[in-house]
Symmetry: C2
Subunit: 637 residues, 2 copies
């Protein structure tokens, strides 16, 4: 199969002129054959949505995470934590996951097989649009509209559409149940009593929120600060599709950056302000335009991006992804539409990477305001707040609303309590309007939500005034800006962006190569003697020892295969450098993509490879320091 796929791809890289499916299959065949990933429990026919990282995949993941730690945690002095996956129900009730972390599901009424309701509707519409040539223009418009609205449909609306289109169970053609919500968390019990419900966390963020108070203290009671966490998260998908992109267990790397809601500036914003990259603001999406290159400094100053801190992270995420090897032309930052965004969010942007599946959300960068800390404060009773101490006391005008309970009790009896609460809950504007009305008219109609009606409030029932108070500090709930990275998705897109084919020397076949940057490459270099010779093998072993000491993953190849075959094998693993031992004093280093070679002393070679793979010097630097070596005759066969 792979041979056929390769022929289909021909010399094209990155899927030019080849269908996305063919390109994807070629990449995935290579990934699975070289054990970048393995379907979990494969000998037991696997479990949908679960994948293992095999040796090269595991190394790529380690490298990506190590770079994430360097780029974010270390550079920004973040507080990294590592919290439990098993989570008691109360925490996820507070966060809203128990109630809202659901997908709508339908059941085959006879076999009981479950499907995601939106998937069935989507498949139906797509197939109709592709294959039914008799569709009227109106019908085409309608189906396209349904596809566009898919994420916004309620259970009732989805159910109605499924009925209207006569959609049945895909294989059996049996009727389907009405859509109903299925919670996507893996549920379990903590301890021997079944009473204590727990879930496997669906995200790592909650672990940080519940620890806010301790982390704030650890940071010297100062804002802003960021906490970070890398760890497993779990989503019990109804029927996982999209291979490595929609899985039931995955690694997240999340940052919760806590700021004063009144000051979302960022001291290092200037460092990224001049970066230009593809952005796709809300306006452009609504008006049907394309993503366009914008300068992040400008985007913030024009108010396209809500604040500096959010903008700073957009820039840092852009640098992170492109550094890993994501093609900057296939990376865009898309702003959430108003209807996509949670009601509490101030602004939200997704870093989307284009791959054979389309534009895929890989990093979400959201200003979640104070929602999460408030939710846990309320549920736990522990105030998750910050204080700003004033250098000297400030005079603050305070609104004081004092309901006169006696009068209210006489007038309203049993409903008094709800009216008192409603009065106390008035904001400044409402209260001042009431005060004015009571002063001029002596009474007014006041709508009480909890009663569902208006009551008549008279001037003797409440006193409203403003007083000047001296305050020594301000207590507030911080806002949180959350960049959340789907590590597996980033890695998958990286595979597609790094995958290339090139003709063999003889031109008779296409060879696969992953053009990983050295930073990402699972194996940094191979070491092999040019010919089988005990003396060269000794040198190779000595070099291997120095590489190990330097922490550089590598492979010795003394199989005696031809140089060309060895390169072909290591190219498929994306190994960026090859050291060929052809003397016992100096050796050559070959770079994968340019195929250029330099000659370096045996004693120095490990440190040169380390410097290039750690990113302390570039390959061009190395080339300028060491003599080049040309040996076309042995380079390929």
């Amino acid at each position: 199969t792979e041979r056929k796929l390769l022929d289909a791809v021909g010399g094209a890289n990155g899927g030019n002129g080849v269908s996305n499916e063919v390109f994807r299959q070629l990449v995935n065949n290579t990934l699975e054959r070289r054990l970048f990933y393995i379907p979990s429990f494969k000998i037991y026919r696997g479990v949908a949505g679960l994948y293992d990282y095999g040796p090269p995949g595991c190394a790529v993941k380690s490298n990506v995470l190590a770079f994430w730690r360097q780029h974010f945690v270390l550079e920004e002095n973040m507080l990294e934590v590592d919290c439990s996956c098993v989570t008691p129900e109360v925490v996820l009730k507070a966060s809203g996951h128990v109630e809202k972390f659901t997908d709508l599901m339908v059941k085959d009424e006879k076999t009981g097989t479950c499907f995601r309701a939106d998937h069935l509707l989507k498949d139906f519409c797509k197939e109709k649009l592709e294959k039914d040539l008799s569709l009227t223009v109106e019908k085409v418009v309608e189906l396209k509209h349904v596809l566009a609205m898919l994420d916004d449909l309620s259970a009732e609306e989805l159910g109605a559409k499924i009925k209207e289109y006569g959609i049945t169970s895909p294989e059996t053609k049996n009727p389907l149940s009405d859509p109903y919500p299925f919670n996507l968390m893996f549920q379990t019990s903590i301890g021997p009593s079944a009473a204590s419900t727990g879930y496997m966390r669906p995200e790592t963020a909650q672990g940080i929120f519940v620890n806010f108070r301790d982390l704030y203290y650890y940071n010297g009671n100062k804002l802003p600060f960021a906490a970070a966490q890398i760890g497993q998260a779990f989503r019990n998908e109804i029927s996982p599709r999209q291979g490595l992109l929609r899985v039931r267990e995955f690694t997240l790397a999340e940052i919760e950056h806590f700021v004063d809601p009144e000051d979302k500036s960022h001291p290092k914003f200037v460092d990224v302000a001049n970066l230009e990259f593809l952005m796709f603001p809300r306006e452009e999406q609504i008006s049907g335009q394309q993503a366009k290159k914008l300068c992040i400094g400008e985007a913030v100053s024009k108010g396209i991006v809500n604040n500096e801190t959010l903008g700073y992270f957009l820039g840092r995420v852009y640098l992170f992804l492109t550094h890993l090897g994501i093609d900057k032309e296939r990376l865009r930052f898309r702003q959430h539409l108003a209807n996509e965004m949670a009601h509490y969010a101030a602004d939200c942007w997704d870093a989307e990477i284009e791959c054979s599946y389309g534009w895929i959300e890989c990093v979400g960068i959201a200003d979640r305001s104070a929602f999460d800390l408030r939710a846990h404060t309320e549920k736990s009773g522990v105030p998750l707040v910050a204080q700003e101490k004033f250098s000297e006391p400030r005079e603050v005008e305070k609104l004081v609303i004092t309901p006169v309970k006696k009068e209210l009790g006489l007038a309203f009896k049993g409903t008094q309590k709800m009216i008192v609460e409603a009065l106390e809950a008035m904001n400044e504007k409402e209260a001042m309007e009431m005060k004015a009305a009571l002063e001029t008219k002596g009474e007014l109609e006041f709508h009480v939500c909890t009663l569902g009606k208006a009551v008549s409030i008279k001037s003797n029932m409440v006193s409203i005034s403003k007083v000047i108070k001296k305050e020594h500090q301000r207590v507030f709930t911080p806002s949180v800006i959350e960049p959340s990275f789907g590590i597996g998705r980033i890695i998958y897109c990286l595979y597609e962006h790094s995958f290339h084919t090139r003709p063999s020397k003889a031109g008779d076949e296409q060879l696969n190569v992953f053009r990983f940057p050295p930073l990402v490459a699972p194996i940094k270099c191979t070491v092999f003697p040019l010919v089988q010779n005990p003396k060269y093998e000794e040198v190779a072993k000595k070099i291997s020892k120095s590489l190990t000491f330097g922490g550089i993953s590598h492979k010795i190849d003394i199989t005696g295969n031809s140089i060309g075959k060895r390169y072909a094998r290591t190219d498929e693993l994306g190994v960026p450098f090859a050291i060929t031992v052809d003397s016992d004093t100096s050796v050559t280093i070959r770079e994968r993509d340019s195929k250029d070679q330099i000659r370096v002393n045996v004693e120095e070679v490990a440190s040169v490879v380390k410097a290039v793979t750690d990113g302390h010097i570039t390959w061009a630097n190395a080339q300028s320091r060491y003599p080049s070596h040309s040996s076309v005759s042995v380079d390929e066969e």
Copy 2:
């Protein structure tokens, strides 16, 4: 409280003369106050057995794991994988966990509260022995015997003892149920149908075993090779005790080293053969002796340790743990007694570390023979085997047992099948004895296990012969040698072994210090200007940038606190180096334990700190290269 504890400890380090409990409380207070760990979901009153790693704990863990990767994966060229935590039932049925991974539990018959049966019996015996002065000598012996046998008692025996001693529910004094097994795995459902049972993995090893075939192929179909995995594992303990040592979620680092069962030699054994460390062989335990220093080379050659590969890993584990800072006098390798060991295991040693809880198993190093691969071969139907190709075909003598079914059927009717199976299952010795008996006597009594009785076999019922066959390869199930590391336990013991107190300069108080090796320290160095001065702050920031570039975690402290206070704060985090900026050309580096200082140029300081923390040079090396600096006046206050 902590102040009192400190006074109790006085100048003693490592718990000399202080009760273990006091020492433990002092260490744990420091750990929790400095956020090395946090009880998970603390604001919701936590969940027993779940802990989060706060910032310094998380950094220590990262450092330990990075060193594990360097020491094992990189040095030994292991194949690292990263498998799913969610595991379908079939896998854990094959491994035996569904059936046997249980603890015996009793229930308070009125409240339903659950307890570990062995814990209640243990508590009862201990309390009796400690507090009941009227015990007879016989009773004392009996209770001590029960304590010694605790792990070996069956449900019935435990239940009988609980009845005999009249043990009741600890708080309510209600009667208890009979003990029954409680499975320690967290159970869940995979996908929307409740039919698909899954568990959170109780160990990472199974992920490697089920991938054996692919990994063997990846390794060029060659043995030996090792696969490794770092990841979360889960045990739903009945009622967790022992703080950070017995938890419900933890990080394991496991190695599965696959070898030919006929050749367990190790090419690098010579590298560790001369190491000497505390070993506690089976014989010494039975005869009531102590652990003693043995040379691992000798232990293997004398057969105390079963084979070279097992011995090699004992040595490597010893190097790993002592390198991290585990005290070699409080580290021993204890061999499992015959009754502790799984029936299939060839040999098993635990690396035990002594801490305030006693000797704690932190690494298990077991030769598990072919058990796991065979179990999955049988359950999955996929042969998990290796081949040894012969360079030329070998003539092999093969035993052929051919039961004559017709005759057996006539003689035994319905039980024929079981007799055929029993005949075919004979090993060479049994078969040759039967052959001889049949040739001389014409018949013999043959015991058939599955029938539970002997039957009379006549010479016409079976033919037994030896034939010479030409074979081109040998197919066999590899043995596996498994070093399995409980990372959290190692880290906890490391905390205790690193914890010291020292008097403040004024001598009026005891200060805590974690004497972590630089490799382990969560923060490698602090940078602070000697006095508040913008010029020095600039230098400090410049140094900080170089440290970040080099990947060295550090902290700038420009609080203006006294130097002594700053040292006290950083000592509690175990920071090994402090850079004091007192000029804009050169600065001082102070080492935590010796308090020695050297003077280094601003440009060089980051690379010196990096070299020392990466272990490329020692502090003594650094001292010999750079001038020493004495400034007692500012060192402490």
